[in-house]
Amino acid sequence: MKKLAYYPGCSLKGTGRAYDESLRAVFEVLGEPLEELDDWNCCGATSYMSIDKREAYALASRNLALAEREKADLLTPCNACYLVLEKTRRHLADSAEMGHRVRRALDAVGLSYEGDVRIRHPLEVLTRDVGEERIKEAVKEPLKGLKVAPYYGCQIVRPYATFDDQYHPQTMDRLLKATGAKVVPYPFKTRCCGASQTGTLPEVGLHLVYRLLNEAEARGADVLAVICPLCQFNLDAYQSQVRREYDLEPIPILYFSQILGLALGIPAKKLGIDRCVVSANRVLERRAAHAA
């Protein structure tokens, strides 16, 4: 496996801290400790792209250049970062004009980018490079009986389906199954969580969040597993607000890496599970019950 430079992105340093903690813990246990890319910067996300395209590409490409200097691929857990970096990578390869401008900008700070960096996602690395077999072997506390709804969000499979199926992604399903959990059918796997609309247009954003939560409940899920810090934030932090408007039972929202970490026997505290707004106790109890 080519060396991986871990690019957590801003969210994982803030609201998505638990994602960062659990990923580090899981990769550590699996014998592939994460090494953070030195001196990385914000990917620009969707907002920057709404203001200035050239600057947005330049901003993102700096991270590609840093990774290339380290002869590494980028390991990118956040959906938005993943897409922005992947889009930048493709755009620089396809558009000579943009490539030229961006290279000039990079040159000004003594960096260069030749196009030799792949953008990789933990789901891909865990299913392809590490492999489910190794994960199954490492599972210490199987999550038997835990019903999980896998929610991938939008930008990980759209517009590019790089490592998973665009309509019916499977990689997280496979990892969750490896923990012994039961994956319930979840037709809204890749539907929009509302993104920043929960903040800007609450009634719009909250309705989208409601549909996702309601579907998980209808499918009998104990927990919703997510891979994106913004999805997690929307589904978790806004859940009480949604429940004020709609009739719903609370449902914990965990990163897939937290669920995986529990199965690997990593202490809940180390996985940042206490950072959840909606209590994940029912998941922890399930594990405890099984252990007993």
């Binding site: 340093k13 990385w40 620009g44 901003l59 000039r104 900008a105 040159d107 517009p159 929009c192 609309q197």
Partner: protein, 148 residues
């Protein structure tokens, strides 16, 4: 309320040319109005114009209608429309371009905070206003960005 009639004077051929010259957006001309973009859009219910109508208005050059529509500000860039479109119109990227143009031209829809948010986010990142703080390299302005 704006009367539901437009004359040719309402059209801006320059705007039509601009929108169809965006990368991949020449395909707007081939739109067959199947409505897949609209029906797959998670935010459709709250839009004034559907994405399909917006593409059509753009192609016809109705700049004021397009830039004044809050449809563009509802787009969350989930790319559902882009992957569904049978004519491969890059709807999401066009939405980005429309947002940029609306901001450039100062066309803000009144009750929506979204453009302001985008603007502020961009200023925050580009200006590096938190760069003094230790744990904020993610919002530091990477030097060289203004070189382009």
């Amino acid at each position: 309320m704006r009367p539901n009639i437009r004359t040719e004077a309402d059209r801006s051929p320059e705007f039509a040319r601009w929108i169809t010259s965006l990368p991949g957006a020449e395909k707007i001309q081939e739109c067959m109005h199947c409505g897949l973009c609209s029906a797959s859009c998670p935010l459709f219910a709250y839009m004034d114009y559907s994405p399909r109508q917006l593409m059509h208005l753009g192609r016809e050059g109705f700049e004021a209608d397009v830039l004044g529509s809050f449809t563009i500000w509802l787009c969350t860039s989930c790319y559902q429309c882009t992957v569904e479109c049978p004519r491969q119109i890059p709807v999401t990227e066009i939405m980005y371009a429309l947002k940029r143009r609306a901001i450039e031209e100062g066309v803000y829809t009144e009750h929506l905070p979204i453009p302001i948010l985008a603007r502020e986010f961009q200023r925050m990142v580009a200006g590096g206003i938190w760069s003094a703080r230790d744990d904020s390299r993610f919002v530091r302005r990477p030097s060289g960005v203004d070189g382009i």
